[in-house]
């Protein structure tokens, strides 16, 4: 979303701001941001619990444990959004130079419609590949986040295994992650056929 806007207003202050924020986010370690957020929101302000999960039976009844999930979830999402934003901005810039976009503009179609209907769908195609590969990246990221917030998930399991040198367990988790990478890539390739008519034409 911000990527689209930054591409539309490239060279302006807004573009600069978005890019700076993104660089800041890719450079700042997620666990550091997690620690600071934990301090500000849980310890100083006391809005959210500092970590762990609540009673599992209560969670089962309500489905999700939102109160305990908000901080870890937001931090984990923050680590990823910057990549996506920069990526969308760059592909949008490339596509906005293409002939069909120029043609749409020449027809007198409004700039907003050009952006949303003519440029954005094409920018989202390479985006699909990125989602596939980043899914597995998230598993690595959860290790750090789960260890900060004490969330008993796969990441904490891996960490405990590493601390007690339980090698088969780590191998298993690593294997799961790499299967996810391969599956994600496969899924991205298959969905290319569905999304992009050009690929469908070329392969059939």
């Amino acid at each position: 979303m911000f990527g689209v806007l930054a591409a539309a207003f490239r060279g302006t202050l807004f573009d600069w701001l978005v890019r700076t924020l993104c660089y800041f986010n890719t450079a700042a370690p997620s666990f550091w941001i997690g620690l600071l957020a934990l301090y500000v929101f849980s310890i100083e302000l006391g809005w959210l619990p500092a970590g762990g999960t609540s009673d599992p039976r209560a969670v089962e009844a309500s489905g999700v444990d939102l109160e305990h999930l908000i901080l870890p979830m937001v931090i984990l999402a923050l680590t990823q959004y910057a990549w996506f934003t920069l990526f969308v901005r760059n592909t949008m810039l490339e596509i906005l130079r293409e002939d069909h976009v120029q043609f749409a503009r020449a027809q007198g179609i409004g700039e907003l419609a050009v952006l949303l209907r003519y440029a954005l769908p094409n920018a989202l195609i390479p985006f699909v590949t990125l989602i596939g590969t980043h899914l597995a990246e998230l598993i690595g990221g959860t290790i750090l986040i789960e260890s900060i917030f004490g969330w008993p998930g796969l990441g904490l399991l891996a960490l405990d295994a590493a601390r007690s040198e339980d090698i088969p367990m780590i191998v298993g988790i690593t294997l799961c992650a790499s299967v996810l990478v391969v599956l994600g890539n496969l899924l991205a390739d298959v969905s290319y056929r569905i999304i992009d008519p050009r690929v469908r034409e070329a392969t059939t």
């Binding site: 660089y23 800041f24 450079a27 620690l35 310890i43 597995a136 290790i143």
Partner: protein
């Protein structure tokens, strides 16, 4: 006599011309790049002179001053056993940066060697090497790194294992770039000419391939350093990297996590800021360099 002085003068001239060119190039740098270069330069000098500025004593605990906030006496406050945080962050930066640079170097060397092997040998060697590369590439960096850490820490110690873990996980994308670059180089006329002139495979690699590969390899190295800083601090933070008493940025952050509940926010804040500044300045410079070298490399190098 005259020949040698002539050679000296010409080499001096080349040196002068080079520094002149660098100065001219620097005048064209945008403000952000200049600021980044300046900050990074200061950081590196400070890291190199860490021992001169504040000597570090891991055992200098001062239990009267446990968890003091930032003040004139302790610029960044003190930690949970009363050690001066400024000194620890400074030395931590030096330790983390050293490990990161060596680890990135290891990754780049592995990537280049594998890429050159696949790109020049071709055929079955190429196929085999690239399948191995695929296997490594499909691993999650962080998880696979942890596995390597657990396996090799007893033998190599914390610092060595971190370098190995980063070095063995960050090379596949560079290997692919190097291989592809070699594939296109092989078809160029000047390479055919060298082969026709009877150049050996070794000479071909050294004289004709490597100079063309250097920009890509150098850029990959610079781009890997911030990643290596992140990985080192993350591993140490989890207690899987350097031994806990050593002042690496990750270890200080782990101290910070323990002190958070007691209200010691500064212990977590400052080492993180150090990582952030280093990563941002390095990637700003690398980004600028990449744009000048080759606008399309971004999509290829995945870290």
């Amino acid at each position: 006599m005259s020949a040698s002085s002539g050679a000296l003068r010409s080499s001096l001239n080349i040196g002068a011309r080079r520094s002149q060119r660098l100065a001219q190039a620097m005048q064209r740098w945008p403000v952000s790049v200049r600021v980044a270069a300046g900050v990074l330069g200061v950081l590196v000098v400070v890291a190199l002179l860490a021992n001169v500025i504040v000597p570090l004593d891991d055992t200098a605990v001062d239990l009267d001053r446990v968890l003091d906030g930032p003040s004139a006496a302790h610029l960044m406050g003190t930690d949970e056993v009363g050690r001066d945080l400024f000194a620890r962050v400074l030395h931590g930066f030096r330790i983390s940066l050293t490990i990161a640079v060596l680890a990135a170097l290891a990754a780049v060397i592995v990537g280049t060697v594998v890429g050159v092997l696949a790109g020049t040998m071709g055929g079955k060697v190429d196929a085999l090497v690239m399948r191995v590369t695929d296997v490594f590439a499909s691993q999650n960096h962080f998880l696979f790194g942890i596995l390597l850490l657990v396996l090799f820490r007893p033998a190599l110690g914390g610092a060595g294992a971190v370098m190995l873990a980063v070095g063995l996980t960050h090379w596949p994308s560079l290997a692919r770039i190097v291989r592809r670059e070699l594939m296109s180089l092989r078809e160029r006329p000047f390479v055919s000419a060298a082969i026709g002139g009877g150049a050996s495979r070794w000479r071909l690699a050294r004289r004709h391939y490597l100079p063309h590969l250097m920009p890509a390899v150098g850029l990959a190295f610079v781009l890997t350093v911030p990643h290596a800083v992140f990985h080192e601090s993350a591993y140490s933070f989890l207690g899987l990297g350097l031994p806990a008493h050593e002042a690496s940025l990750g270890n200080i952050l782990a101290d910070g996590q323990r002190s958070l509940l007691a209200g010691g926010w500064w212990i977590a804040l400052f080492p993180g800021l150090a990582i952030l500044t280093a990563a941002m300045t390095i990637s700003t410079l690398a980004e600028y360099w990449r744009e000048h070298l080759h606008p399309r490399w971004r999509s290829e190098l995945e870290l």
